[in-house]
Amino acid sequence: MKTAAALLVLLFGGLLVYASLEFPAWGDPMAPASRHVSPHYIERSLAETSVPNIVTAVLADYRGYDTMFETIVIFTAGVACLFLLRIFGRRSSESRLYRHLPTGITLRISRGGAVPLSSKEFERIDLQWVPYSVVVRTTCRLIVPFSQLFALYVIAHGHHSPGGGFQGGVILGASIILFAIANNLRASLAWFSEKLAVLLCGLGVSIYVATGALSFLLGGNFLDYGTLSKPFAMGAVAARSLGILMVEIGVGITVMAVMVHLYYGLASAGRHDEGL
């Protein structure tokens, strides 16, 4: 088995080597890949979309269709994770644990027992609940808003600097995951609920598709942001830039929601009770 696999892999590598021997040398500016389509992007993107970051321009406009489906791949992953992992309806365990917030005392409520008086004062915790060190938690309290702002900045400035909806979305998601790790999954769920995540999952993609479909209504082809110039009263080039921004926001929302969702699902094995 192993030797067969090794042979197979060697064959594969051999084929790759065979083909690579005739490749243009690394970094050759005259390589065909650099001469055929890409000059158009480099030389015209600023004029056509007014986006200095060529990658963003190509990603969201010239090849916007790819990116739309990339977002849909992410969305699919989110739905798939929900579909496969999520255990709907909670089986109430033998006993539930509540922590009294002001004192930090933990109560064990056996099955059938009354829920503590005010749910605001009590926090339901996990069986395996471990108090996180105050240091980490406090640091994360500072870092989470900071990184969220940073993420929004990344989304908003995808035109001018590296980044864009996807990266920003991941960082946004990471900030919520950070919160969940620094505290626990229940606190995180109370803050950023599953339903919200689900809503945002679909919302982001819908924004993307709607932006593209808007150009239908305005008489253009799908994803032709240039047509947005009519309702927004701006030039076609600026309209493209705006379209790219809208699309990036959609991507960011989806990516954030899906990342959070994946984390919730994986860390709790679909039960959404106890996290990492």
Partner: protein
């Protein structure tokens, strides 16, 4: 000999890429642990991405974000000055696809562990055999 060295040096990227691809593929095929397979899968995917980025590399060029400012606005950007952006775009998409696949794969692995209590493919198959005789799927 010269030519060989030249081949090796000018295409070091490709050779490393190939090595990585082989590592990833080997892991995917031979490793029995599901998470190991997933890691192998990711290595393979990243290696492919690396290959694409290497294709797009351009000597003497800068990152594909146009310099803005007074001087740059005056003349149109020239293709030789900037790295080919297209592979970057494609690979952004490929990374996203990779992470999505990763998410689904991990979800499956977690589910499999819940069902079988092990992540070892051979063990799972071993316990599947007696079951297949007594009842349907």
């Amino acid at each position: 000999m010269e030519a060989l060295w030249e081949q090796i040096l000018t295409k070091a990227n490709y050779w490393m890429t190939i090595a990585l691809m082989m590592v990833g593929l080997y892991a995917m095929i031979t490793k029995r642990n599901l998470v190991k397979k997933i890691i192998g899968m990711n290595i393979l995917q990243t290696a492919v991405i690396l290959m694409f980025i290497s294709i797009g590399a351009k000597r003497g060029a800068t990152i594909p974000i146009l310099k803005h400012g007074d001087a740059a606005a005056a003349h149109a950007p020239r293709a030789v000055d900037y790295i080919n952006p297209l592979p970057h775009v494609l690979m952004l998409t490929a990374i996203v696809v990779a992470v999505s696949t990763l998410g689904v794969a991990l979800a499956l692995a977690v589910k499999i562990y819940q069902q079988n209590g092990t992540l070892d493919e051979a063990d799972i198959l071993a316990r599947q055999v007696p079951r297949s005789h007594e009842g349907g799927p």
